[in-house]
């Protein structure tokens, strides 16, 4: 196991690697096609290097634990607004999530619908490419269009283009309070339409999800403002039946569970589908007796939990990918036994041009093909 302590050590480890590397942060996100490789962890690169609350910026080494970052932000009443998902419960992994892992997987939670994804809050990166060259891109300021935005393509590249060594993030103030409106027992079509109405209102809904036939809508901000908007939203959604409300403290746990897809922790396989919300009902028609649906991002993010055997779950996942090919969007198998993930397309196969561009980019970033090769297939 290689655990470099500095960026220079990380560069050396990659430069001198004779064969493929299996790169991880805290190892809590076992996502993608299983790969072989000498283990390299970034957990030795730790520490917050800069935190300026008044500038809403934080810079940290990639292996810094998410917990350390959240504690620092908390002390200034700030947070990572994109609400990174913790995969440990869903994937039944242990370990400590790192900020590098969050960025490498571009994980964003329920609030993504209103404030953007991890990639939208990522101001800059330093990384080591497949040749062992240290490269920087972006910076630590909020507005920056100097040169190509490699930051975006590094986010969500699962370590296949480069190994992140330093991350620079935009952070945001925590709101004073929140409330969550609950709509009950709506069909998929009705719940998506209720969520669309809420998200299309001026009331700044920061979470819109449906789990186990309850539709949740979150409002955040100053207390009086939250109360006002809750009232307006209730009036707007009066046609969707009785509306109950959850207070701030209970809401925090609720949204953490929604973001972390806690509901499917015992499911054998889980596929994540990204679609335009009004297509969600069409995808929901794929549901069987052995599968369950949870929706986030107003219906734009669909989680399909599968309780079947491997063969059934394979068929189900491939069916979702076929639907995505037809309707737009994409489906990724987030959870399944390694053997199953090795046997099918975990990530949505892309159109020919995009696939060619992607593989040519990989060849530039990692000409020897040693960085998590094959993980994103």
């Amino acid at each position: 196991m290689m655990t470099p302590k500095t960026e220079a050590e990380l560069a050396d480890a990659i430069k001198s690697a004779p064969a493929p590397l299996h790169i991880t942060g805290g190892g809590t996100r076992d996502i993608g096609t299983p790969i072989e490789g000498a283990p390299l962890r970034t957990t030795g690169l730790t520490g917050i290097t800069l935190y300026e609350p008044g500038a809403l910026t934080l810079v940290a080494q990639a292996g810094t634990s998410l917990a350390e970052i959240e504690t620092a932000l908390d002390s200034e009443n700030q947070r990572l607004a994109f609400e990174p998902m913790d995969h440990r419960a869903l994937l039944q992994t242990t370990g400590t999530p790192t900020i590098g892992g969050v960025v490498a997987a571009n994980v964003s939670g329920s609030r993504r619908i209103s404030v953007g994804a991890c990639r939208d809050h990522l101001l800059g990166v330093r990384y080591v490419d497949g040749q062992g060259t240290i490269i920087k891109n972006g910076g630590r300021v909020m507005k920056n269009v100097t040169g190509y935005d490699l930051v975006k393509v590094l986010a969500g590249s699962y370590g296949t283009l480069g190994v992140l060594s330093e991350i620079s993030l935009k952070v945001l103030p925590k709101p004073e309070t929140s409330t969550t409106l609950c709509l009950h027992d709506l069909s998929v079509t009705d719940s998506v339409s209720a969520m669309s109405a809420a998200l299309g209102s001026p009331f700044e809904v920061t979470g819109a999800a449906t789990v186990a036939s309850t539709t949740y809508l979150r409002l955040e901000g100053f207390e009086a403002s939250v109360a006002y908007r809750a009232e307006r939203l209730r009036a707007l959604l009066a046609g969707y039946g009785a509306i109950t409300q959850i207070a701030h403290s209970d809401g925090e746990t609720l949204w953490r569970d929604i973001t972390n897809v806690q509901a499917f922790k015992d499911h054998a396989a889980v596929t994540r589908v990204s679609v335009q919300p009004s297509h969600a009902p069409k995808f929901a028609q794929a549901l069987t007796d052995d599968s369950d649906l949870a929706m986030d991002w107003g219906g734009g993010l669909m989680w399909f939990g599968m309780r079947g055997n491997d063969a059934q779950n394979t068929d189900f996942h491939l069916k979702l990918q076929a639907m995505a090919r037809q309707n737009g969007g994409h489906a990724t198998l987030i959870k399944a036994p390694a053997s199953l993930r090795s046997s099918l397309s975990v990530f949505q196969p892309e159109n020919q041009t995009v696939a060619q561009l992607t593989s040519a980019l990989r060849a530039k970033f990692d000409p020897r093909g040693i960085l998590n090769p094959g993980l994103m297939t």
């Binding site: 300026e52 008044g54 500038a55 809403l56 910026t57 200034e76 009443n77 571009n106 964003s108 990639r119 939208d120 490269i135 920087k136 910076g139 630590r140 300021v141 909020m142 507005k143 920056n144 269009v145 100097t146 040169g147 190509y148 935005d149 490699l150 930051v151 975006k152 393509v153 986010a155 969500g156 590249s157 283009l161 103030p173 925590k174 709101p175 339409s193 669309s196 299309g200 209102s201 001026p202 100053f222 009086a224 403002s225 990204s274 679609v275 335009q276 919300p277 009004s278 734009g300 969007g329 949505q348 892309e350 159109n351 041009t353 995009v354 992607t358 980019l361 530039k364 970033f365 994103m376």
Partner: protein
């Protein structure tokens, strides 16, 4: 500022190139007479001009593809152009290039309110995107100052921002998908109406690539419901440093204004003389705008005012009505015009960490004295995106060069304090040769390798973004 000398091989085939383009495009879409191509000789960086070989104005993605195929086959450089409002010279031609204008690709293709997006031809102007959805009370958030004229194509190329991006983000945060034509004519869709990328985030790479990776012909953009209302407060301070501290305190307090605009004394004086907005004469002026219902606005403004009072403002003027809001914004919105009234000016666009604002303003003053050229500062303070305006006299020999040197020194200063050369205008030709101040050779190499993938022959806008000597081997290899 240097541009590569035009390829004689291309120039000698001018007639053949025009003829081939005329074969694949409607007659009115190929512009080639000397008088007509002059309209394309520069963008908003008017200090540099060069008529192109010809210009094409395709009206469909297929026509864009056909034109690019011809240029690809004949080895002709192509400079894509939106509305030509780039302040960085992003659409500056070379004599051997074909300008590909997106102006005719201006249709609204689809609006979808439940899913909150609009799909438009990339030649559509920024403001008319909002215009297409405002009957339903929706809007497209990024609002560059040139929004009346600038095209979405250029917004995507430069990843444009605006005054309100503190809350809503810049183009890349509001772009869901594109239809793009590669240099070889291949048409591809990247992204769509859904939120995130299936694999590598190519969309994020394309946005801000200054027309060097492909020609975007359609864009799917996120639209939002308009807020119930918005109102600003104007505050004046007798010290830049204090105004800077006030900005930082407002941000820290958990109020997230939709905009925080900053003007310094030279700018306030020029603006007052020009627009008579009734601004206080002081060292620094802030305009802070918040959104929501009336009660929500009152609440946020009261919090902001409380913070401001701790910094002893010389003026604190809260808007209570649409008229008062307009009066507060009047000066800010006329600032560029006001400066232009005094003299020619060059508008810079560096970003700095908000914390170094007072120090940077002091150093800009020192530099301004050193060069003997006046500098006014008007900028988006919430995100540190500065727009120093350097006044010079274009008719005075040597003044432009002096102004450019001062500009370069100011931008280097932005980089040295932890910021960057350009926050929202792009590199173009203007900041091209300063890139080595912000990036090491390997950083630039990694970026150029991306262009190698999308445009192996380096035909798309080749003389921009990267210092000419950094990109030379690639450009020459391509010839």
């Amino acid at each position: 500022m240097q541009m590569p000398s035009p390829s004689t091989a291309v120039l000698s085939r001018k007639a053949q190139i025009i003829e081939r383009l005329q074969k694949v495009l409607p007659e009115s879409a190929v512009i080639h007479t000397e008088a007509e191509v002059r309209a394309y000789e520069c963008d908003a960086l008017t200090a540099y001009k060069c008529p192109p070989l010809c210009a094409v104005l395709p009206a469909t993605t297929e026509e864009v593809s056909a034109a690019l195929k011809v240029c690809h086959e004949l080895g002709v450089p192509v400079v894509p152009r939106g509305s030509g409002t780039s302040l960085a010279g992003g659409a500056l031609p070379t004599a051997d290039c074909v300008i590909l204008g997106t102006a005719r690709l201006n249709a609204v293709i689809e609006t979808n309110y439940p899913d909150r997006y609009i799909r438009v031809g990339s030649g559509r102007t920024n403001l008319s995107v909002t215009g297409a959805v405002e009957d339903m009370n929706f809007f497209y958030a990024p609002d560059p100052s040139s929004q009346l004229a600038c095209a979405i194509a250029g917004n995507v190329a430069m990843n444009s921002g605006g005054a309100h991006c503190l809350k809503y983000g810049v183009t890349t945060n509001n772009l869901l998908g594109v239809k793009m034509v590669m240099m070889d004519g291949t048409i591809t869709d990247i992204g769509g109406a859904h939120l995130d990328a299936a694999g590598l985030d190519l969309l994020g790479l394309i946005c801000g690539s200054e027309g060097q990776l492909g020609v975007v012909t359609e864009a799917t953009l996120r639209i939002l419901h308009k807020p119930e209302g918005a109102r600003p407060v104007l505050m004046g301070f007798d010290d830049n440093e204090v105004a800077g501290a006030c900005v930082s305190d407002i941000i820290k307090a958990g109020v997230l204004p939709v905009a925080i605009e900053f003007m310094d004394r030279p700018c306030i004086e020029a603006t007052e003389a020009f627009a008579h907005a009734g601004y206080p004469m002081c060292e620094a002026l802030l305009i802070v705008e918040v959104e929501g219902s009336d009660a929500e606005i009152d609440h946020q403004l009261s919090l902001i005012n409380e913070i401001a009072r701790r910094h002893n403002p010389v003026e604190l003027r809260e808007s209570k009505s649409a008229e008062e809001s307009a009066a507060i914004w009047l000066g800010r919105k006329s600032a560029f015009g006001a400066m232009g009234q005094i003299n020619d000016y060059m508008c810079l666009d560096g970003t700095i960490p908000v914390s170094s604002l007072p120090m940077v303003l002091r150093k800009i003053k020192d530099l301004s004295d050193h060069y003997g050229l006046k500098v006014g500062n008007v900028f988006h303070a919430g995100d540190g995106n500065m727009h120093p305006l350097i006044l010079f006299d274009a008719n005075k020999p040597g003044d432009l060069e002096l102004c450019e040197q001062l500009g370069a020194d100011i931008l280097k200063l932005c980089v040295d304090v932890g910021g960057c050369l350009t926050g929202e205008h792009g590199v173009g030709v203007e900041k091209r040769d300063l890139m080595t101040h912000q990036f090491d050779p390997q950083d630039l190499e990694a970026q150029m390798a991306v262009k190698d993938v999308f445009d192996p022959a380096w035909l798309l806008n080749p003389a921009k973004v990267f210092p000419l000597d950094s990109s030379e081997t690639r450009r020459i290899a391509a010839e």
